[in-house]
Amino acid sequence: MTCFRVGGDVRQYFGRKLLIYILTFFIAVTVDWLIPRFMPGNPIDIMISRAGLRGSAVKTMYDYYTQLFGLNLPIWQQYLNFWSALLRGDLGISIFLFPTPVADVLMGAVPYDLALLLPAILLSWWAGNHFGAFAARSKWLDNTLLPVGYILTATPYMWLGILLAWLFCIVWRVFPLAGGYSFDLRPDLSLTFVWSLVSHWFLPFVSLFIVGFGGWAIGMRNMIIYELEADYSHYLEALGAPRKLIRKYAFNNAVLPQITGLALQLGVVVAGALATEVVFAYPGIGYLILQAIHNQDYFLLQGCFLFVVIGVLLANFIIDVAYVLVDPRTRIGMQGGG
């Protein structure tokens, strides 16, 4: 691995990136705090109307809730409390799972999400790039395999989920339809439980994988054609270098912008995952959000929002760091070399 010379500029570059992410997080949290307070409809009224209370009980419950959620304090006080609670990791109490705090509910859903998202994103990124590079090899391949890529990337995530669910769960009965694991099992490390986990996980993973795969294939096809037209490819050709070497260099250079592409596409992929989880009732954050919406559980909804935002921003920052490590041009460019 090349020795990583940390010059002054590199720190400044990361400092600036970090600043942007912190600013983004700050704005996202503020937006998240603003919504319930300024949107039409008051969460407390909705909760009470759902509980079907009458007469004096309405008043007392209203006061109790207002006091509980601290809605009676002055606005800026509420904002500070919100931040202090957030920093302590207390995301408030879920409404429809009343006593359990939002944080715990989320903790239950996060492992499923990571298990689904990480492999789906990384594998589709890796496979898509190699497929795109392969498709750019010849005109015939380009004209046949590429439209497939366009169809895939145009498919709405959830629709592919429904199709797969219908085909594999209903028509051919190969995979279970809903849930994280079959209901009659208690979570333990036995083989049956693990197998049930995997079989529930498989279809959402495949649908996320396929749609993402199309997008990366197209991106790579365009980038690699651009690199194969670059001067250094022509020079290697003129020196009789074998096609394999030229393609290897072109691929390595074409992959770099795909890394930044990964950071940009993260938000879109996460959104797709939410929809897919709804189709398979897969107990990730997406499914939680759906339940929160149906039960008007605003605090759970806000908690999910914060988790997703933090996850995406963190991933973006990691990808930015990886990019500087991998691409010598930016690293050396920053140190004013050359």
């Binding site: 366009y150 990337t153 145009a154 709405p156 959830m158 219908w166 769960c169 940009l264 605003y298 973006n316």
Partner: protein, 285 residues
């Protein structure tokens, strides 16, 4: 290799580019279906007209839903709202992108740095999640408000592309020559830079249009679509909610999905075709 007049040269390649031809024909087919469809069917999308969950037949071309609504009618009306979201959302997104992209690209310096930061911030916030929250709170949601929210989160993609293109045009000498001829910056942007980017703006609009449709479909699917209109996403949502999978009524959720995939796919293919027509380097491929 000098070429004859620019105009008919582009036309020459446009007519021969089969990606463009296929893409455009599919999109046109659905546009026609949107206008002709409602005339072909005498039902309303939410009217109970036939036996529930009946398979496609001569009477109900795409069969009926669990409530006995005609799927074909729902599809046709849904297409209308999907295109509407695409137009308003995509159009507004492109407009915002153009404004911010142009000013950032042309002015440069601090303005560029600030606008760029704003673009990156909105880009790194996962748009759909924020949309979820907003939509969840809005009890009554119209197609129009949904399009505006979608546009609000789609413009950064357009802004990035247009900023890069404006920047590459700004350093060209003909901008300096225009300034030497006493033209004001605004006039330079609209009479010198913008016309050069018409082809590019079209490409950006097509992508925004497709993107808006996909985002709207996802939103509707989660149940946060317009409350007063039918859309393809809503159809799929209802299908899943009311057990179309278990009942095996495949004709309820397959047509909307095919429609969205076909429209958005055709738009992307048209985009690639246009890109090949406008920039000769790709033409040889």
């Amino acid at each position: 290799m000098p070429s004859p007049k620019k105009k008919n040269e582009i036309l020459f390649f446009a007519l021969r580019n089969n990606k463009l031809r296929i893409g455009l024909s599919i999109v046109l087919f659905f546009v026609v279906l949107t206008f002709v469809g409602p005339l072909l069917t005498q039902y309303k999308p939410d009217e109970f007209v036939g036996p529930p969950s009946s398979p496609p037949s001569s009477k109900f071309w795409f069969g009926t839903t669990t409530f006995g609504e005609d799927v074909f009618t729902q599809l046709v009306y849904g297409l209308g709202s999907t295109f509407m979201v695409g137009l308003i959302g995509g159009g507004l997104g492109t407009l915002l992108g153009v404004l911010i992209g142009f000013t950032a690209g042309y002015r440069g310096g601090l303005v560029d740095e600030l606008l760029n930061m704003l673009t990156n911030i909105v880009l790194s916030v996962p748009a759909l999640v924020v949309l979820l929250i907003i939509a969840a709170y809005l009890q009554v949601r119209s197609l129009f408000t949904e399009s505006i929210f979608i546009a609000f989160f789609a413009w950064p993609w357009a802004a990035r592309a247009i900023r890069a293109q404006t920047f590459s045009l700004r350093i060209r000498d003909f901008v300096d020559l225009a300034r030497l001829s006493g033209m004001s910056s605004l006039k330079i942007i609209f009479t010198e830079i913008a016309p050069n980017m018409m082809s590019y703006l079209l490409l950006v609009f097509i992508l925004q249009f497709g993107g808006a449709i996909l985002t709207a479909a996802t939103l509707d699917f989660i149940g946060l679509g317009p409350t007063n209109a039918i859309s393809l996403g809503l159809m799929m949502n209802m299908a899943v909610l009311w057990g179309a999978l278990i009942l095996g009524t495949w004709w309820w959720f397959i047509p909307p999905g095919v429609a969205i995939t076909a429209i958005v796919g055709a738009l992307y293919v048209t985009n690639v075709g246009l890109d090949e027509v406008f920039n000769p380097k790709l033409r040889e491929m």
